[in-house]
């Protein structure tokens, strides 16, 4: 596709339910990032994938959060047993290589936990 695609664009769920957020990066981009943005806040790093290397999971806030990237392309961020504080916009970005700071962001998945 022309850009980074994220789905769903909006998700409302009940506390305690599991959710999956999907990211389709730009074709050929080897690096993929997940960030979280709470209302009026900056971007909080969650996880980073680079090629076949082990992902950098240092930003995941708890073991309820996990992510995978299949075939070096599509990525899924899973949040188990959602809590109200998980409500935020989850942004995915990809880049051509690690060394560049030029990340291409999707429009985000807005998660609301009731």
């Amino acid at each position: 596709g022309a850009g980074v695609s994220q789905s769903p664009s909006n998700k409302v769920t009940e506390k305690g339910k599991d959710v999956e957020l999907r990211c389709d990066p730009i074709s050929g981009h080897t690096a993929l990032y997940w960030y979280r943005q709470s209302l009026g806040q900056g971007l909080e790093f969650l996880i980073y994938f680079q090629g076949n290397s082990a992902p950098d999971k240092s930003g995941l806030p708890s073991d309820r959060f996990s992510a995978e990237r299949t075939g070096g392309s599509v990525s899924t961020l899973t949040i188990q047993r959602t809590q109200q504080e998980d409500s935020a916009v989850y942004l995915c970005a990809s880049s051509l290589e690690t060394h560049t700071g030029e990340l291409f962001f999707g429009e985000g998945s807005r998660l609301t936990v009731l």
Binding site: G42, L43, D56, A93, T98, E102
Partner: protein, 109 residues
Amino acid sequence: EDQVTQSPEALRLQEGESSSLNCSYTVSGLRGLFWYRQDPGKGPEFLFTLYSAGEEKEKERLKATLTKKESFLHITAPKPEDSATYLCAVRYGWGKLQFGAGTQVVVTP
């Protein structure tokens, strides 16, 4: 602890009124400072990369500069379409970018 601090939090400008945004950082092993623009409901859009103190980059009415401890984003003669949140980010080591909280800029006609 590595930190990225942006100021001011918000800036309201008249069209044509030039101003500057600040991004200060306390990271070791800096491997680039980056500026992004974010419009409401959208993901951030890349603007500039700066690597070395003294480096400058320009794009239309925007100019970014870098010193050893901070970066400035100068907006010259802004127009209403320059209204957005401007984010800076730093990379230390290879990998994740650490973002500041952003400066929300509103330019009124």
